[in-house]
């Protein structure tokens, strides 16, 4: 399969990339890892007239803790997250998630920024970012602005990134105290989208009370979904078995999956309940270590 023809530019600075976006107008697309965009172009679901490859722009790829945040450069590849020492030590949710994203070759190219900017509720990082309470830095010719993850996803393939803007950094409130996180998705085979996926983050004080909770769901609603009722029942609780069961039930009730080849609505709700319970328990046991 061959994409429709397009012009290709590979700028070496962000300023140049943004200038090209303005020059070419709405038909220009940013090329990051390309492993969502190029397949769409080959199928001719997308036919941009200009591709602006930002892989040659230095300084957009890093994982570091700074100013109370875990900061991830938008062009950081999945494999770089998978192999990062900070991630191994404190943010195991990414170890869970990256392992389940596509396959090793794709993870050598796919980027975290691209995964979010693609704006697909079937991708895994949106739910992870919701659970972790991330914010996203967007750069334009007027400077930088920050958007909370709850305001980032606008619709199918649509996000807060406007024309002429580039997603440049993802910021996650740094892990502190007894902090644990976990992710799992049910998939039919390697590389498939989730039948259902759940991301969970838990923070516990020294008395065993939950002080912070985040739950994001993958591919069971039109937009990446925050399970608010589940979070509310967890925060302030002692995280007893009954509370966790209640949180899992709320997540299953509140999501809005649609029937497809991966399963019917009832099955997907059931999966959300089961995985929510498991991920909460996993996050709690990691928090207590």
């Amino acid at each position: 399969m061959i994409a429709e023809n397009f012009n290709y530019d590979a700028p070496t600075s962000l300023e140049e990339a943004i200038a090209l976006l303005h020059q070419y107008g709405d038909d220009a697309k940013i090329l990051a890892g390309g492993h969502s965009l190029i397949p769409m172009m080959k199928l001719r679901f997308a036919s941009p007239t200009h591709l602006i490859d930002i892989n040659n722009i230095p300084g957009l790829s890093y994982v570091k803790e700074e100013d109370g945040y875990l900061k991830i450069g938008a062009m950081t590849k999945e494999v770089e997250v998978e192999e990062s020492e900070i991630i191994h030590a404190k943010y195991q949710i990414f170890m869970d998630a990256t392992k389940l994203i596509a396959d090793p070759q794709v993870r050598n190219f796919g980027t975290l920024g691209g995964n979010l900017a693609h704006g697909d509720a079937a991708n895994d990082h949106p739910a992870v970012m919701i659970a972790l309470g991330a914010e996203v830095e967007i750069t334009s010719k007027d400077g930088k602005r920050t958007v909370g993850i709850d305001d980032f996803f606008h619709g199918f393939y649509t996000t807060a990134v406007e024309h002429g803007e580039v997603l440049t950094e993802i910021r996650i409130p740094a892990a502190s105290g007894n902090y644990g996180s976990a992710y799992h998705k049910a998939e039919r085979k390697v590389g498939d989208y989730a039948t259902a996926g759940v991301a969970a983050m838990i923070q516990i004080d020294d008395q065993g009370r939950c002080t912070k909770a985040g739950i994001g769901l993958t591919n069971v609603s039109p937009l990446p979904f925050r399970a608010k009722r589940s979070e509310a029942v967890l925060v302030g609780s002692d995280l007893s078995e009954a509370v966790i069961a209640q949180a899992a039930q709320y997540a299953a009730e509140d999501c809005s999956p649609s029937e497809d080849l991966r399963g019917n609505v009832e099955y997907k709700r059931h999966l959300v309940g089961v995985i929510t319970k498991r991920m909460l328990n996993k996050a709690i046991s990691r928090a207590k270590k």
Binding site: M1, G34, P39, P104, Q105, N108
Partner: protein, 167 residues
């Protein structure tokens, strides 16, 4: 609207005039006439087109040729030298790790990066490591055995038996 690019494949430079939409796998097969890299699914699912770009395994059906400008590309044709087969080729050969052979070039290129990063992988790590490569003949067992054999060979360890196992 074509672009002039130079691809460095297995150490040799290939200069070509390509449309930006040309996929890297087509540039390798058609312009550089290196047909060892296969096109299987053409949707980045099967891994038959796996090559190394700057040492990283990549599905060349989902990368544009223009993106590979200036990068070091390695394909199956570059594995054997005048001295003989590459250990991964030897491993696949001795352990009967192929039937039809279509997936083999991609499988070997992927295994090379896997062993580079993790010289002594467990069986699970091997299976997880080749999860982006499909084989419809072997049932994978002999491929896993071949990679284990190659791991031993590359580390100078005692070599496992290559007698066929009947299970």
């Amino acid at each position: 609207m074509t672009k002039k690019i130079t691809l460095k494949i297995n150490g040799a430079e290939h200069t070509m005039e390509v449309e930006p939409r040309m996929l890297l796998v087509h540039a390798i097969r058609e312009n550089a006439s290196l047909t060892g890299t296969h096109i299987g699914c053409d949707t980045s699912s099967c891994g038959a087109c796996t090559i190394l770009i700057d040492g990283k395994s990549a599905k060349s059906c989902t990368i544009l040729a223009v993106q590979a400008q200036g990068k070091e590309i390695a394909t199956v044709e570059g594995l054997a030298t005048a001295e003989g087969l590459h250990p991964i080729q030897e491993g696949f050969h001795l352990n009967h790790a192929l039937h039809c052979g279509f997936c083999t070039p991609g499988m070997m290129m992927r295994a090379i990066e896997l062993l580079e990063k993790n010289p002594n992988p467990t069986e699970e790590e091997i299976r997880w490591g080749i999860s982006g490569n499909l084989c419809r003949c072997t049932g994978y067992n002999n491929i896993v055995t071949a990679i284990q054999w190659t791991s031993a060979k590359m580390q100078g360890k005692e070599l496992p038996s290559t007698e066929p196992k009947f299970v």
